[in-house]
Amino acid sequence: MKKYADISLKYKIIVIIFFSVFIPLILAISLILLNGSKFYKNELYNKVSLSAKIISDISVADIMFNSPDVSTNSISFIGKNANFLQITIFTKNGGIFSEYSKDNFSKKEVLYKNENVSYFENENFYYYHIIKSNGIVYGTISIVTSTEELKAKVFDFLLGTTFIAILILALAIYVGEKFAGNLIIPIENLVEKAGQITKNDSYDVQLQKLGQDEIGKLYDSLNIMLSNINSRRMERDAAISSLKVSEKNFREIFNSSHDAIFIHNLNKDIMDVNETMSQMYSIARNEALTLSFEKEFSSKNNNFASFEKIWSNVVNNYPQEFNWIAQKPKTGEEFIVQVNLKKILLSDNEIILSTVRDITEIIKANDRLQKSETKLQKIFDILQVGVGLLSNRNIIEINNKACELIGYSREELVGKDSSIIYKSELDFLRFSEIAVDEIAKNGFSHNEIEWVRKDNKIITVILDLMQLDFEVDGQGYILFSFLDITNLKKAEKDIKELNADLENRVNKRTAELEFANRELEAFSYSVSHDLRAPLRGIREFSKIILEDNMENLDDDGKTHLLKVINHTVAMNHLIDDLLKLSKLSQEKIVLENFKIEEIVNSVINSFNDSLPFNNVEFIVNCNYNVVADPSLMRIAITNLFSNAIKFTSKIKNPTIEFGSFSALESKEKFGIENVVFFVKDNGAGFNMKYVNKLFGAFQRIHSTKDFEGSGIGLATVNRIIKKHGGKIWADGKIDEGATFFFTLSDSPDFNL
């Protein structure tokens, strides 16, 4: 017989499940069967006892009022419906009060009993109950019922439970088989895999689990175990190889450090040095190991007492850093180093690690920096403008000139709020806002502002602010410089006042002058006017003398009188011209647009009319429209032509030309971008020495003997041209003719 331990897990599980269902089932059924009959008996008892109690209750009144008929009706109704064999109500004397019997019941004598009692007898159940109300006994009720029904019920129950038990057992075996199958597959799988792993000695595999139950968890645990075994194996391999690498690396790091490294034991013996040390101290490693840091590698100028203290601190686990004067043992060359001492544990040995850094260059650089700062400070102080440094609102630094300008001492300003030199906090804030905006926009600000000196004097300064693009401790700095322009301001104000005064004076003088000019013009007009009458008198009377004394006067007398008359005529002309000139000053200009050529031709025609036998050749070569006063232009052109005619009177072929230059030509010739008109003759000409005198009134450059004239003509022309805003000038040479140029306005538009 096979041992139980050798049976497959699957069958073990099925057997377990079968028995664990079968045993309680059998127990339960037996128990229920045992109790079943009792249960049904109780049920019967309860039913009969309830009926007895109900009947006894309703029978009290029946007995009380002596109504056996009603009682018989009642118990017959209950007896039929409850399927009782017999119901009897006894009076308390033992007599039958009423009774009911089932039809097929072989009626037996039912005994009277004066007690509550029940019992089974001959397949029947007997029940007695005393009829009682308010403690008074009225009689007894007896009920007889059959037990056949009870037996049938017990049998039915037994049948039912047996059927269900068989069903449950079959189900248990079925489920057990299924369940055992599912349970066993992963275990079999696991057994197989475990075998493979141990056989191959390869732990880098993972098992595929089939569910999340305990077996699934077992899979997980096995997987973790496998991967742990695998990773430990790899770690071990890696550790071995990395140990080798790290030893090599350590040596490399040790040697490649930029600092010289000494390894001392606690007794200050040098155990090892790196390559940088060899280079720094110019000594081979082997040699270095025989020397001492304190002696051969140090300058005599060090404080060796402090070194002892440092060393003992380091030994007590307080790392130390200090500066030291090192020395190359072979050359005795000294250099400054920073030394770092620290006790560490290396391969279970306590050692002192000394890292030594050459800081000679750094110290030198610091010196240079110091010097440069001193230099800057000196420049700062010697500057003849106020200069300083601001951080936020505070003055950080300020030069002497600035102190002098503001009237405070350096101590009173450095570290103080800069708003003290402003008129008010509000003023300061207002300016700050502007300055901050400008600095944000341009990187600097340039403003003219007013400050208050310590002695409360207000000064005006030009303040330049510039943001420095470095920060110290998160603070930004602003460089400021300023110039005191209070005096300049004052001077500027004085000049302005002076200018205003001057202008007033000029205006006043001009007014006076204009007044005088007008007076003069009025005077000259009235003089000219008043001169005419006596002059006419002289002329007329001279004529009369001449006519009346033709015979009496000799030729000389006649000639003299004729001269008087001619002079008066000339003077009359002179007066006319003067009148014209003075009138011209008062006349207003009336502008019109016309062709200048028309006026020129009309002037020429009038000359030809008055001098019919002249031999002057007129050339007109001009085709411009002008905006000008036509009558004044006529006067001007007439004057220019008469002037030309006058000065050509003594040559054989006189030619007078009226022409023009376009704006373009003029610019080339005269530097004037305007149309230039000219009147050119080939007459007597003039010496350019006197050109300035040409256009003054009564100025003459030729004697009256040669050319008659009042010397007012060109002055008149000049005045007319000036009135139009134009310009006039002349060019000429003696005996080679003269040319008079003029423009009519400053702007070329005027000449259209």
Binding site: I58, V60, A61, M64, F65, N66, S67, V70, G135, I136
Partner: protein, 173 residues
């Protein structure tokens, strides 16, 4: 409890032998006491006042005398002592139960109208009184005492009669 038991014992000893004499009025007195066990008086009736004994009035001829005296001594109705008196028409309302023996129709209708709705139970033993409005009326058949109940009078006077009692009586609607 003990006193109560003794009373019942005495009851059993005394009343049962008297029963044996079997007079008609003994049975009627016994029935009247048993009726009260199945009747609830209307709410607010004087019977609910525990200070007052249960008052029985006998109108007309009193044939109960011996039996009632005995009951006054040994029996309690509604857990109260019993008191009885013979009545004229003027004392009618001081009763919880009135037994009306022979009287004229006028007297009867006067009694009924006076006690109407006052919570007084009327019992009589004259033929036709049941129809006239008495709540319970005794009658005899083959020398056996029966009773009839005027259900409409019972209802209109707000008495509550147990069904156990009603099923034993002849009902007058």
């Amino acid at each position: 409890m003990k006193i109560k038991n003794i009373i019942y014992l005495l009851n059993a000893l005394v009343i049962i032998p008297i029963y044996a004499q079997f007079t008609e009025y003994d049975v009627k007195a016994q029935f009247m006491e048993r009726f009260t066990q199945y009747i609830e008086w209307p709410k607010g009736a004087a019977i609910y006042n525990q200070e007052i004994p249960f008052r029985i009035g006998i109108y007309g001829e009193n044939n109960f005398e011996y039996k009632l005296n005995e009951m006054v001594q040994f029996v309690k109705i509604k857990n109260k002592k019993i008191k009885y008196k013979e009545l004229n028409s003027d004392l009618l309302l001081d009763c919880d139960l009135i037994f009306i023996s022979k009287c004229s129709d006028e007297e009867l209708s006067k009694i009924i109208s006076l006690t109407k709705g006052k919570g007084i139970l009327l019992i009589s033993d004259s033929d036709g009184f049941g129809e006239k409005g008495v709540h319970i009326n005794f009658y005899k058949v083959d020398n056996k005492i029966h009773f009839e109940i005027n259900l409409s009078a019972v209802k209109s006077d707000l008495f509550n009669f147990s069904s156990r009692l009603l099923r034993l009586a002849r009902i007058i609607e």
